[in-house]
């Protein structure tokens, strides 16, 4: 007899190889990946949620990304851009972490070519912002040869400590990065990946980079300290609505990822209209997978991707959101997610929350195995709240020297020489056979068989609840009609 598990799971999927970076260890140190562990299977998102939209990537096909981008831009008015004008295409590091980065890089190249063709402008530049790893986009620019494509000196990485420019907004003076705005026109070339729901709560998601990767430290600090866990999202809107930005605004062009892969490219001169479309798509797709991850009753999380701890992916969901999956982070009536910086700020010296109603980090994560992850994000919160086992002394040395993680290793449970011994210890600590790997594998999730069974069993019920109960509530909270 064939079981449901046999028909709806597949052999574990090989993820992308480790990336050469100043923020990670040398790829040759990564001897074994999480998907190679025993008893692992691959669950496709489409098998969990049959209403998942069809994807254009994977399989890898840059030509299709180019064609889709050209189609998205064909009706975008660019008549105001004159041949002698300069144009900054604004990008962010995160797009390059999606499915290896090639789809995003191809979209950026295509935007450049379409602008040149439609306007005659020859002065088209790329300005790529970062998170907390200031060289990261420089690495991607070089890796995808964007410097060659845009021309000498025209593709640069920018950082929030670079020279700034004051921007007068509805909430007073905020600050952008000068080189982001040093052109006649700006094009917001981003992606709709839900990513940091714990921060943005899917409020003005499409606008967020104006308060983050295009912004100076003063603005980003305002977001994370001054306006509250939900109010903070006004920062990006304030900057985007400013006369300074509006005078330079051309249009937005977004790559559209879902948990299953890239489903298209969307473009609009009206960023708020694009944001509504993105919100509708994301609440339905990411809303389902995140709600499903919240049904996991116990798990070992294996971090195995070229990103810092919170940003490693599984099923399109970043690890930070798995830490919050025990609550509904899309529900704006919940003020503090289990992890966000406002939450972290309100833990006392005994590591107890000052506010009694603060939800704990996902109690169903019983152990974390760090097989491959980057430095460059303050990650001690996870080390304090979960048993973490670090694979490899090289990994330890990297974190010991990271000024953002100077105390991280102090709280780590153990450092093991290899993945197998780390897993052995994790199983002893957790007493669970459920394993989920955050390795960015495309189209689905690498999990152990017991966890695959749970996901496949719970998915239909989750789908119904999201469609009938949660979507209407989430949309209403954002001023949108169901």
């Amino acid at each position: 007899m064939t079981t449901v598990l046999e028909t709806e799971t597949h052999s574990p999927r090989s993820p992308l190889p480790p990336r050469i970076s100043a923020y990670g260890v040398k790829p040759e140190y990564i001897q074994k990946r999480g998907f190679q562990l025993p008893n692992m299977v691959f669950v496709r998102i489409k098998d969990l949620f049959p209403d998942t939209p069809g994807v254009i990537w994977p399989p890898s096909n840059p030509k299709l990304i180019r064609e889709t981008t050209i189609r998205a831009l064909q009706d975008i008015d660019m008549s105001y851009i004159k041949p002698n004008h300069s144009v900054n295409i604004l990008a962010s590091h995160h797009g390059f972490t999606l499915l290896g980065g090639e789809p995003y890089a191809e979209m950026l190249k295509t935007i450049r070519d379409v602008i040149e063709e439609k306007t005659g402008s020859k002065n088209i530049r790329l300005r790529a912002g970062v998170g907390l790893r200031f060289r990261e986009t420089e690495e991607y620019i070089s890796s995808f040869k964007l410097d060659e494509y845009f021309g000498p000196g025209k593709a640069i990485g920018v950082a929030p400590i670079d020279q700034g420019v004051p921007i007068e907004t509805e909430v007073g003076t905020l600050y952008g990065i000068k080189t982001i705005y040093d052109a006649n026109w700006i094009v917001h070339a981003h992606n709709s990946d839900v990513r940091e729901v714990h921060f943005h709560r899917h409020v003005d998601r499409a606008v967020k980079p104006f308060g983050m990767s295009y912004a100076r430290i003063e603005t980003r600090s305002t977001y994370h300290h001054n306006l509250g866990p939900r109010g903070a999202n006004f920062v990006a809107r304030a900057i985007f609505n400013s006369q300074f930005v509006r005078d330079k605004w051309a249009f937005a062009c977004f790559l559209l990822p879902t948990p299953a892969g890239i489903v298209g490219v969307d473009a609009d001169r009206d960023l708020y209209k694009l944001d509504e479309r993105v919100t509708m798509l994301n609440l339905k797709t990411y809303g389902k997978i995140m709600t499903l991850l919240g049904k996991i009753d116990s798990a070992i999380a294996v971090l195995d991707f070229a990103c810092p701890v919170p940003y490693v992916f599984s099923g399109g969901v970043i690890f930070a959101n798995f830490c919050g999956a025990s609550t509904d982070m899309f529900d704006l009536d919940n003020p503090l997610p289990p992890y966000t910086w406002y939450t972290e700020a309100y833990y006392d010296e005994d590591e107890k929350p000052m506010l009694p109603e603060t939800p704990p980090p996902n109690p169903h994560i019983k152990a974390i195995v760090m097989n491959y992850s980057w430095i460059g994000y303050p990650s001690v919160f996870w080390a304090k709240h979960f048993p973490i086992i670090v694979v490899g002394d090289w990994h330890k040395q990297l974190f010991d020297k990271d000024p953002q993680n100077i105390e991280f290793m102090k709280y780590v449970r153990a450092v093991t020489p290899d993945l197998d011994s780390a897993m052995k210890l994790a199983h002893e600590i957790s007493r669970t056979e459920k394993v989920i790997v955050f390795d960015g594998a495309a189209e689905g999730i690498n999990v152990s068989k017991p966890l695959a069974e749970l996901l496949l069993e719970e998915a239909p019920g989750v789908s119904t609840v999201v469609d009938r109960e949660l979507m209407p509530k989430w949309l209403k909270q954002r001023g949108m009609k169901p």
Partner: protein, 209 residues
């Protein structure tokens, strides 16, 4: 489990490859502890005594001529709260709308009370605060506003450095224009509820012994 007090360990220091340095001043302008000076020889010179090994210069040098070198001894940056008037520390924090125990630097775990203590011990700028507590020497991004808020609450007006280490203080939820809070199209930002939440935190700090 009782966690150890947060400390900023400094285990590296910036090093300049003088043969590659062009004297462009960028490292000098981004250094949060003002530890780099480009002198008449048009070469960047690092003051190892105050360098916190944050790597801002390493990450922004256009010539890739800065590196971090391990130090022989590990330096600890920490301000002792002992022998300081605790009521004054609390007063500065609350005036800045921070609970004294609120974490204001996520990289070092530095809490508001330590920043207030550093100010009472003579810190007069974000750069002094970085040198004394280590704040702003991790990610270099997220904690500038609490630093500026606490300095302002203590009546200190910091002198702006020559570079672009920081520009200015910005608004908080406590001083948003009133008409903004009442706009129905802004209801999804939950300003009133978030202010309530943050007020609760501050009031807890006020009542804590």
């Amino acid at each position: 489990m009782r966690f150890l007090l947060a400390l900023r360990y400094v285990n590296s220091v910036a090093l300049v490859d003088e043969s590659m340095c062009t004297g462009c001043h960028i490292c000098e302008r981004v250094c949060p502890t003002l530890s780099i000076h480009v002198l008449e020889d048009l070469i960047a010179h690092v003051d190892a005594g105050t360098c916190a090994g944050c790597g801002a210069c390493v990450d922004r040098c256009p010539e890739y001529c800065m590196t971090l070198m391990d130090t022989k001894e590990i330096k600890l940056l920490k301000v002792d709260l002992k022998d300081l008037p605790q009521d004054k520390i609390r007063e500065i924090c609350l005036k800045a709308h921070h609970h004294p125990k609120e974490v204001i630097c996520y990289c070092t775990g530095t809490r508001a009370e330590e920043i207030a203590a550093a100010i009472l011990r003579g810190a007069a700028s974000p750069e002094d605060l970085s040198r004394m507590t280590g704040m702003r020497t991790g990610c270099k991004v997220e904690c500038i506003q609490p630093a500026l808020r606490l300095l302002k609450a203590a009546g200190v007006e910091p002198k702006k450095p020559i570079g672009y280490q920081w520009y200015g203080i910005t608004r908080t939820i406590w001083d948003l224009p009133k008409d903004m809070l009442e706009k129905s199209e802004y209801s999804k930002f939950y300003f009133d509820k978030d202010k309530e939440l943050m007020d609760r935190i501050v009031h807890m700090g006020a009542s804590q012994k």
